[in-house]
Amino acid sequence: MRSSFKTLTLLATALTALPFIADDAAAQAAKKVKIGFVTTLSGPNAAYGQDMKNAFELALDHMGRKMGGIPVEVIYEDDEQKPEVGKQKTEKLLQRDKVDFVAGYIWSNVLLASYKPVLDEKTFLISANAGPSQLAGEGCSPYFFAASWQNDQNHMAVGEVLNQKGVKSLYMVAPNYAAGVDGTNGVKSLFKGQVVGQDMTKWPDQLDFSGEISKIRAAKPQAVYVFFPGRAGVQFFQQYSQAGLKNDIPVYSAFTIDAVTLKLQKDLVLDTYLTSTWGTDLPYAANQKFVTYYKKKYKETPAFYGAQAYDAANLIGSAVVATKGNLKDKAAVGAALKAAKFDSVRGPFKFGNNNFPIQNVYQQEAYKTADGGYDLRTISTVLTAHQDPHAAKCKM
């Protein structure tokens, strides 16, 4: 009697301990992959954050909402396009939600305010849009990856397009924040002509560009370069056209015309020049899958914001798969991210030493579709396998 009681207790103990044993056996694979996603979901630029969120969700759908068999949980946070709010939300994701990855960030100034606590905690930060030079050069980090681009890249392509078109005098207008500074520097680094004027506007609350447009008219340049991401791009082109300059001085831009803004810009941006690292018409299988299913699910055309968020999700997925979900091994996760073993919607995609992509930049144009809508199409490759100029200063 006594011995059988002992056996029973032993059995019970063994049974209760079993789940823990099973847990140990799985080589510390996480039970859940937690991703914090910070983007702009309210205010005038909410549509761009929504595009990113849509695409990120679509990528998860395509993965069966699992990465390497582990369920994924995404916590979306709204940065309201304000650096201080972005920082606060980022800290909340780290401290309260204890996320494994932080991703998102449209605006360079929001990212620059938010990245430090993430990298200090050795948590991986995957930017799905902003690519400020501050994180690409001396400030590069093994915990920061840009699934998008380095800010300068698209603008450098604008500089190259200007050269190809034989433009000799250029007027530049861009917002006065990190990305605007990177943008104007990017154009100047390749543009061979003369910059006859440059205005940096107050960001993000200056929406009336009458003063700058008057100066453009007076300066009589051969071409104008603008960088006004999000809604400001609609306002600039509207006012530029109202001032009667649309047909006189051609506009070259980057990040200013996309699928979302195009719905409002319409005719205003026909016959302008723009560059992008991605387009709906890039012929890669991953891209066609993304574009087709995005249109099917959301009844909208995705913008580059979404395309990059889709890539960011797949990049994270590839690292979780490669490390078999052992996210505690930071070195292995970092190496897996750097390997970028995923099918990018941009086709050829790899990371340089500073964890920013080496990729092509294309020239695109807006056109009127047969059904009366508007779309963007890719005309030529301006920069091939291009690496940003700050990489040389990165010690990694």
């Binding site: 909410a46 205005d199 506007t201 008057s214 609609v234 056209s241 109202q242 409002l264």
Partner: protein, 305 residues
Amino acid sequence: MLLIFEQFLNGLQIGLLLFLLAAGLTLVFGIMDLVNLAHGSLYMMGAFFAAVFTEWTGNFFLGALLALPAGALLGIVVEVIALRTLYTRDHLDQVLATFGLILFFNELARVMFGVGGMTIEMPEWLKGQIEVLPGLPYPSYRFLIIVVGLVCAGFLYVLVQRTRLGMLIRAGASNREMVGALGIDIKLLFTLVFGLGSALAALAGLMAGPVTTVQIGMGDNILILALVVIVIGGIGSIRGAFIAAIAIGIIDTMGRAFLPNILSTVLTPSEAGTLATALSSMLIYILMAAVLVLRPAGLFPAPGR
């Protein structure tokens, strides 16, 4: 020289747009002693109304004509439902409540009109330019804003200085209790004033719409400028709002336009650019600080306050 005149017109246009917004705000603040942060939301809703009505009627002017009473009506509804109970509360409660209204209206606009925003389609002849001086084409629509702003200022001047309602408004700004004691229906007066203020906000919003596009939260930033205007102009003073708004419009535009050139005579171009951008966005706040030091009640304080 032409450029200076053109920039002056730009400044005047921005100033007059600001005046339309600030006039309503100063009326409500001065007469009803109500801090209405949701004034910017009424501006936004006015713009959305105009966009919807323009799409609906196919004509910008019909759209605008319908948006004005719609804006006034919305203001009256807000006043009767939400703000009436706040008059006796202190300013902090009012700030809190009207801030809540901003969130409410932004969300309402998102539900009703979507996150994408709208554009207001203008008639062809307003899309072009007119030659204000030989060799100086100016966007017709911006010129229309200047005209509407000036007409509106004239209308408000006559209304406030020459009519019985205006007399009550002025009296209300000076001493509310006394107006009530004289047997005037203060409740009705407040509702009317709030409706008028809302219509002005809607007018500002719908005039701004074709220039800056109609979007959620479009009133949030410009409200700060409007508050600067009424602080400089003196709370409750239409005349003060007019002068302060135009001063701010012109100083802001001129600063943006010419500071880089002026500073580059003593600094390197890149330094001048950085400093000029920073300085020009501060200019109006420097002006406000200066006015507050020299005349704490603003340039034209309402008598008796």
